[in-house]
């Protein structure tokens, strides 16, 4: 109910409200927006329901203590970073080094704002040229997903790739497209 009432207020505005009156209720509204997402992220890495729950509670404690102290431009990205970092520490304690490798490097986690610039500057001719340089699997998955609007499951059926392969072809393809386009733009 409360979440619905404050839906129109952005995360940054909620944070500003907290910074101006120090009422932690604002932080509560902000954090509850991401409870389920954070639970999912912690479960992905810790693979234990109880530990994932405890992890989110610890992350919230940290957020309640630190969100007012430091300037945070994008609270959502900040929370994701904190969650990844927390899971990394937990896995280190467990000495599960293999799982740690699967966690994205913190530097790879994008701030929400960076996407907007790319969209604004998107040059379709350049994109088309970059698409030609992708490998066949990535090009097929990206074309089916973005141009033909197929779901992961449909792409998997059409191509014979597993769902995981489809997802990673799309993610890696996107990343490669960005790199190729940036290279072409700099020439």
């Amino acid at each position: 109910m409360i979440q619905q009432a404050f839906k129109h207020i952005t995360d940054t505005e909620l944070l500003k409200k907290y910074q101006s009156d120090q009422n932690k209720e604002w932080l509560g509204i902000l954090l509850q927006r991401y409870t389920m997402l954070l639970l999912g992220v912690c479960m992905k890495y810790l693979k234990n329901e109880e530990e994932a729950k405890d992890a989110v509670q610890q992350i919230f404690l940290k957020a309640l203590n630190e969100l007012g102290k430091y300037p945070v431009e994008y609270p959502k990205s900040w929370l994701y970073k904190i969650a990844c970092n927390f899971c990394l520490m937990k896995l280190r304690d467990r000495k599960e080094y293999i799982a740690i490798e699967k966690i994205p490097a913190l530097s790879e986690i994008q701030e929400s704002g960076t996407e907007i610039n790319t969209e604004r500057e998107l040059n379709l001719n350049l994109l088309e040229a970059a698409m030609g340089e992708l490998n066949k699997e990535q090009k097929t998955c990206i074309t089916l997903f973005y141009l033909q609007k197929k779901s992961y499951q449909q792409i998997s059926t059409l191509t014979g790739f597993s769902l995981l392969q489809v997802k990673s072809n799309i993610q890696n393809g996107k990343r490669n497209l960005k790199i190729i386009m940036e290279k072409k733009q700099s020439f």
Binding site: G40, Q57, L122
Partner: protein, 116 residues
């Protein structure tokens, strides 16, 4: 060609309801594609869905989320109460200090006045 713009589209939020519906496969192909497009624009959502899919049941996701939120509310209420109490205590000290100064001033006045 217009669809290509979606590749680097700014991330739009996925609601909890959408997440659960997606996990239950309880949506049309179009809705599924929309959610997957949002997922592909954000590592956060992508990781979260992968993790949520590992829960034993959807009910467990909902109940665990509720427990965490309740705990958070309690923590915030406790913290706000403590802050309020500290504020009142600070005010009490201030009032006591003012009263003492006032008392000394009055005593000083009478002392000087009667010594004359």
């Amino acid at each position: 060609m217009n669809n290509w713009k979606d590749i680097f589209k700014k991330n739009t939020e996925i609601s909890n309801e959408e997440l659960l519906k997606y996990l239950d496969n309880d949506i049309s192909e179009d809705e599924m594609h929309t959610i997957e497009q949002k997922m592909s624009a954000s590592d956060f959502e992508n990781d979260a869905l992968e993790g949520l899919a590992q829960f034993k049941s959807r009910e467990k996701i909902i109940s665990t989320t509720d427990i965490i939120n309740q705990q958070l509310k309690k923590q915030i209420a406790k913290s706000n109460k403590r802050k309020k109490k500290r504020k009142i205590e600070d005010q009490q000290w201030l009032i006591a200090a003012i009263l003492i100064i006032l008392l000394f001033s009055i005593a000083g006045y009478f002392l000087i006045h009667f010594n004359r």
